[in-house]
Symmetry: C2
Subunit: 355 residues, 2 copies
DNA sequence: CTTAGTTATGCAAACGTTTGCAGAGGTTTT
DNA sequence: AAAACCTCTGCAAACGTTTGCATAACTAAG
């Protein structure tokens, strides 16, 4: 019913800041002590105040447009309601669904998320420290390498942490990831079933769990199919980018011109494989089949549409958030390592090898 | 040189929280008053304390691993160093570059960003309020419709605001956007130059500036080319999605089977146009040329590669952040409306109409 | 009618900073 | 030598909450 909105906003240049009402304003308006207001407005404490008083307080709070100052409350309680997320590259199409899952679950629990894009030159430890200085109640790390100092650092700071998508070698903290070995084996088995035997792998960075595990899955799958170790062709890309995939694929084709199929550790790498095949004048899938990993959006629009392995990205984020919340509530909770099942999506980039 | 990291972290289960050192710890270690420490550590105030004392304080602060509690400082100063970003859909590939630009510029200025994905069912006003309650120093709105209540709401709350990508009808607050009319005219002129005359438009939502302005640009371009108003074919999609684009394109083709080209208001809509053309058995570009808008990633991998209009997304975010910072520093600063120039990117989806 | 118990409220301290004010000691000016 | 002025540091209040403790007013039990 506040009809002077307009004049207020008009006058904001000259007038002192209209500064939002505080708990004291509500208290004096109601003729009660601030602490009573605090209790009345806190679901956990409101049973301590008489029903009629509580109702009156809630009414005037609403009338004044009172919103508690979360910063002040956080100072007192030691909890900020903030969670930090360290992201490898927010522009990577694989990341937003994960982030969406994280943010949604946290939002429901009353937490807000601060996302920090670490980028190729940022220091995760430094950025984690900045977030900790901001008082975040927990950290979601989507960036860690296998032996990442940031993990130890967070443990030393005794702040709840959960890894998502990638895991650390020591399994020191809880994590949620797709079953990377199984994912690649889905791809390999699919190609084997089509009749391929000479399959190469464009691997991801080997200092990252996804890169290492997917490679391991590839090699295991090939070995199990009876391919001798020395015939198993792998080229690792230094990063999950289209350009790195192109370069690795070119190296692979140079070394092994006889390949009939390539499994990429990631869809972006697979895009690079497409580029390399085009450069070499090789048709996909007629001459070389290609499989990606992750099922990033719009792969069905490529020509040919990319066969890939779908991972449960949104669920990954969701589970990670829940693990983190559990840890915030009880810092000594068990450290779970959640592994989600991947799913093969067959499209047009894979076919039986030519005669 | 802290060698008891390990034992500390091991004991964290039983021991009380190792709680980071405060300004008082540094002060008593140095034998000075906390206020002196505060001054020594604040670049703006450090000239008030003797050089040798300041140096000693900085040294012990570093030795103790002291990091100021930003929450507490924020409570005192009224500034949180936090900026909120309201995003329409974080999974939309067009958004991350904008966000990247925003976050980078703010990070450099010492601000952290809280990104909130509004989604189709979220209430921007409600979410903005939550952010304000969190004490954000400013808001970047990437979601506003032409007559969006959230704008008035933020003005009433007298919190610095800047719009990005989209603008409000009243131009009440500063904004940064691409020149949407000009962008579509680049597309139209390109098609006209190729010889097309019967061009249709799959427009975006008409309650959003990008949708309305791009449509206006389309109609102006066609009118200027001498096409009578009643022959100008437009179908608006209710959202910027592939599926909405497909449906709108089908309606358009139903009404005007004679079209030789379609301009989509957005690349996602253009993907839907591709779908519709495939369904109708129409070849692109031979039978129908298609132009998108925004130049989202990997469009060059489509078949045919999509001709589109590139907009300066990252710069958009960067400029928006700077505008917001200026407004935070001086709430009465001029309200600029920045308009960035778009650029036509010609690929394979456009060709001269058939004879 | 005391005693114990319950319920609703007030009081005041605390969270970790920042900053206006005041004062101590020293140096320059008159 | 007094006056005026720096330069540096300490004091204490304030920011807006939350919460342990005390207390007052009742109610119930003995």
């Amino acid at each position: 019913m506040n009809h002077n909105h307009e004049s207020l906003s008009r006058r904001r240049a000259k007038a002192a800041a209209p500064s939002r009402p505080t708990i004291k304003d509500v208290a004096s308006r109601c003729g009660v002590h601030p602490s009573t207001v605090s209790r009345a407005l806190s679901p956990a404490m409101s049973h301590l105040v008489a029903d009629d008083v509580a109702k009156r307080i809630r009414a005037t709070a609403a009338a004044l447009g009172y919103r508690p100052n979360i910063t002040a409350a956080g100072l007192r309680t030691g909890r900020s309601g903030l969670v930090g997320v360290l992201a490898p590259d927010i522009a990577d199409p694989n990341f937003p669904p994960v982030l969406g899952g994280v943010a949604e679950a946290l939002h429901e629990a009353g937490y807000a998320t601060i996302v920090v894009d670490v980028g190729p030159h940022g220091s995760p430890v430094e950025l984690a420290d900045r977030l900790i200085a901001r008082g975040v109640d927990g950290l979601v790390l989507a960036t860690v390498s296998l032996h990442d100092p940031v993990v130890e650092h967070c443990i030393d700071a005794s702040i709840p942490v959960v890894l998502v998508n990638r895991t650390d070698a020591g399994k020191l903290v809880p994590s949620v990831a797709s079953d990377d070995e199984a994912g690649i084996r889905l791809a390999v088995d699919h190609l084997l079933a089509l009749g391929h035997r000479r399959i190469g792998h464009v691997a991801g960075p080997q200092d990252i769990s996804t890169g290492a595990l997917r490679r391991a899955g590839f090699e295991a799958g090939m070995a199990q199919a009876g391919v001798p170790g020395e015939e198993i062709a792998v080229e690792a890309a230094p990063g999950y980018t289209r350009e790195a995939g192109r370069a690795a694929a070119l190296r692979l084709l140079e070394r092994r011109p006889d390949l009939t199929a390539i499994v990429a550790a990631n869809d972006l790498l697979a895009l690079g494989v497409y580029d390399a095949l085009a450069e070499r004048g090789l048709n996909c899938p007629n001459e070389v089949s290609v499989v990606g990993h992750n099922d990033m959006p719009y792969l069905d629009m490529l020509s040919p549409p990319l066969t890939t392995v779908r991972i449960a990205q949104r669920e990954m984020g969701d589970r990670a958030a829940r693990l983190l919340l559990a840890q915030i509530r009880d810092p000594d909770a068990r450290h779970d390592h959640v592994v989600l099942a991947p799913q093969l999506i067959v499209r047009g980039s894979t076919a039986a090898p030519r005669g």
